[in-house]
Symmetry: C2
Subunit: 509 residues, 2 copies
């Protein structure tokens, strides 16, 4: 029983869905069945059995152990197995010959010592960081060596035994590789390609989802965070995919390692295809995804900008987001279709809409700090009044400036009009907001929760601090979004490098 | 050759370092050597060989395949191997008996079909998400089944063959388990415990390192980001460890899975020890680490607050950071020593120093928006003048409030004096800063780089936007730090839950 869903029909349908999600799963299963059937036929027919004796069983073991999901991985395992068996065979035969030369008493001691040393040395070497990928090879060396030594010692004629065994292993390996590579091959390169493209989509979707929720989310009470499994947000499917992208590092690396073993195939037509570039692009993408995670952190943070403040920059944030997401998606699509589209137009658009967002944030920065409370000892800050003067001067001169300069140049993003006056219910919102803040500062805030029941301007100082920090959370959100866009430069660069090295076709040529 | 360092002595010293880093690596190697030696003795001596024949070789294979680093994983593999062999044996014998009842023509067809189906079904099942951990078991089932069928068909007396093989496997498994569990056992539970504690230290170190660099970093030009391998910052060792913590999710899970197989041992004295809680605490810790990554992102961002602005909040940021790091470290220490120290005092101190930071940010928010430029069409925003009135009212009432309330209550953090007047060189700094911003907005900024050579107030609008956004990056840094502290609540909670379930001792009792 693989699930406890109760109903048989629901179980069947979930198995059906599992198969439909990825037909390769079923293909792989049938391929394994076919491969073991083929090697078993060797045993079932008389001729090969008479030739190789009971050692023919090794071909079955080889298939069962070597047959991996992707072609590259099977090649890799085959290589490990072949080289490991060969090395172990040579070593074992050398030791046995040596043992035969020594006396009857020294012989078992020599053999015992060699087995012990072999076990210790292979186990030690396979822990060495650069050798970890060949872990399987070391296992093969160890047990092949032990078996040849032991059976050779007891059963005589070690060279014949080990040769028969090598033939059997070769037959098994041959069958496994042929079946794997010729019948509906599942290429590691293709998987790697898909995985990377999916990563791009996941990041784009998650960005849009997160920003969408940030701008829409009014009714929620932020209680999700307090559940035990804090990483789960059931209503955010793209978030989960984005988080999975963060953990693909080892998967991409192992796929790239496997892909290197594969001959040119399908769309990947030239030798020495730069699979390792995929891993690098994946790293840059992950770097972008960290920003999405941080945006998501602000979304689910306990300190929240009030909704009516958040939607002040709604159109700018929306625009920057949708263009950034579009850029990420079209980079993913370029990789997917192996085209080399220069995304400079899109990148420019993203940058200019991000600048509009920057500009909007700057224009409205008084909102972000509306609860600002200058230092009480004014002696230490002669600059405060100056600044406010400067500001009002600035304001009027600015107004003149802008009225005269209103001819909208392409490069200077125009200051963006407020979608609605957000000041009206601001303090009320903050008060309501403060109910949500019960867990921050969790141990002490309750004491203040009841006091501040008076007018708008009589909030206790703590509350005012929260208020301003809450407003700054919007600035944080915007900054993180801007930082995300800044990282897109590097993403475009790394994708371009991949396109160059992998010789993607120029679009429209 | 495992490294290309050239000199033999450097290679030896790196091997020596590798061993010294974790002595368990050497112990493990010698244990494997001992285990294979012990099973090989079975073959080298005459008695067991005569009893079980050539099948005794299976005990060697079993040891080589089953012997894993930790006790729990070895138990797990042993269970997989035992159950898999048993199931495969029963199925194979049943099929053989069935085949014997059918005619000579149907027999090979039945056997071939059963082998094919077995291959396909086990390969399919091992891909099912909940069965993935038992992948090895399915492999064992497949090859044991094939071997028994094939050798039984060809060599007769399948039951005797399979029983002998089962005995051999049992002997091998027994030796592997005994050697693994009795001689310098390496417990998965202990490893998991250590791994989690290391995670706490990595997060704390990385937080301090990142904040330290943010406050000190004056000379660097942010060029690190543009290198190809963007994830590497060689001068930040703790960052790397923190990033590794983000990828430990699967490691913690597999260790917890292994640990569940282990009997009570060492410090973990009671049955059903809550190993899965370790994974949950790890998840919350990772959640905190995401904020550290975001802080790190701000540190290496291309848009930077100028240094003299950053150090405005130096003492507050330092204090909040060092206390947060101390809290994280002492949580790690509590877990390490399995004590149940209530960290409420530390948590309170972290919260109050974070409030001081919040308060400082609020007090100085004019700095963060000093380049602010109000909207040109004042008709649409009747609220702006109102707000500035409200603010100045607020200011005076606030001054009165604060002067009367100046009796320093424990809970209200005092407004913090400026460490130095940051306004003097602010614009000059910004101008210098703008040199660093060449890559942002990378395609268009250069055009403006030369124009703005005039007075302080005559920066082009784009520049002013950058300036303000750069200042807001400090607000982002502070917000992220505050959000990190907010998440510490959950960390304390989850550690407390672990302490309760694992029955850690109360400190001082």
């Amino acid at each position: 029983g693989c699930s406890n869903n109760g109903g048989l029909s629901s179980r069947i349908s979930s198995v059906w869905k599992f198969c439909n999600d990825d037909v390769n799963r079923v293909i792989f299963s049938f391929k394994v069945g076919l491969a073991v059937l083929l090697v078993s036929l060797l045993v079932l027919f008389r001729a090969p059995f008479e030739l190789l004796g009971t050692n023919i069983i090794w071909s079955i073991i080889t298939v069962a152990i070597m047959f991996e999901y992707t072609v590259g991985m099977t090649f890799n395992r085959g290589f490990n197995r072949a080289l490991g068996s060969l090395l172990a065979g040579i070593l074992a035969i050398a030791i046995i010959q040596l043992a035969l030369c020594t006396g009857r008493i020294a012989e078992p001691i020599l053999i015992g010592a060699s087995i012990f040393l072999m076990g210790a040395i292979t186990s030690f070497m396979k822990q060495w960081p650069t050798l970890v990928p060949y872990e399987y090879g070391f296992r093969v060396v160890l047990f092949t060596f032990c078996m040849i030594i032991a059976s050779g010692y007891r059963m005589g004629n070690p060279i014949r035994t080990s040769m028969e065994r090598l033939y059997s292993i070769a037959i098994g390996g041959f069958v496994a590789v042929l079946v794997n590579a010729l019948i509906f091959p599942i290429w590691a390169g293709e998987q790697l390609h898909k995985e990377l493209v999916n990563g791009f989509e996941a990041v784009a979707d998650s960005l849009e989802e997160c920003v969408g929720k940030y701008l829409e989310d009014e009714g929620s009470d932020g209680s999700e965070f307090s559940t035990a499994v804090i990483d789960e947000f059931p209503d955010e499917p793209a978030y989960k995919r984005c988080r999975n992208t963060l953990n693909t590092s080892s998967k991409l690396e192992s796929l790239a390692n496997s892909a290197k073993w594969e001959p040119p195939h399908g769309r990947f037509k030239h030798f020495f295809y730069p699979w390792s570039e995929y891993v690098k692009v994946g790293a840059v993408l992950r770097y972008c995804a960290y920003e999405v995670m941080a945006l998501h952190g602000v979304l689910h943070s306990e300190i929240q900008a009030p909704h009516n403040l958040r939607i002040t920059f709604k159109s700018e944030i929306r625009e920057a987001t949708s263009q950034a997401a579009e850029l990420v998606r079209s980079l993913g699509k370029d990789i997917n279709s192996m085209k080399r589209g220069l995304q400079t137009t899109l990148l420019k658009r993203v940058h200019s809409s991000t600048e509009r967002l920057q500009c909007a944030v700057d224009n409205h920065s008084y909102l972000l700090t509306s609860a600002f409370e200058p230092l009480p000892d004014a002696a230490k800050k002669p600059s405060v009044p100056k600044i406010s003067h400067a500001l009002s001067n600035d304001l009027s001169s600015q107004l003149n400036d802008l009225n005269s300069n209103q001819a909208p140049a392409e490069t200077t993003p125009p200051p963006c009009p407020l979608s609605q006056p957000p000041q009206e219910t601001y303090h009320e919102m903050m008060r309501r907001q403060s109910r949500r803040l019960h867990s921050w500062p969790s141990r002490e805030f309750d004491a203040f929760g009841e006091e501040g029941g008076g007018g708008n301007m009589e909030l206790p100082p703590r509350m005012r601090a929260l208020e301003s920090t809450a407003a700054l959370s919007l600035a944080t959100f915007a900054s993180l979004l801007i930082e995300f866009v800044a990282r897109l430069d590097h993403l475009v660069e790394s994708v371009d490098r991949l396109a160059r090295l992998a010789e993607f076709k120029h679009e429209g040529l």
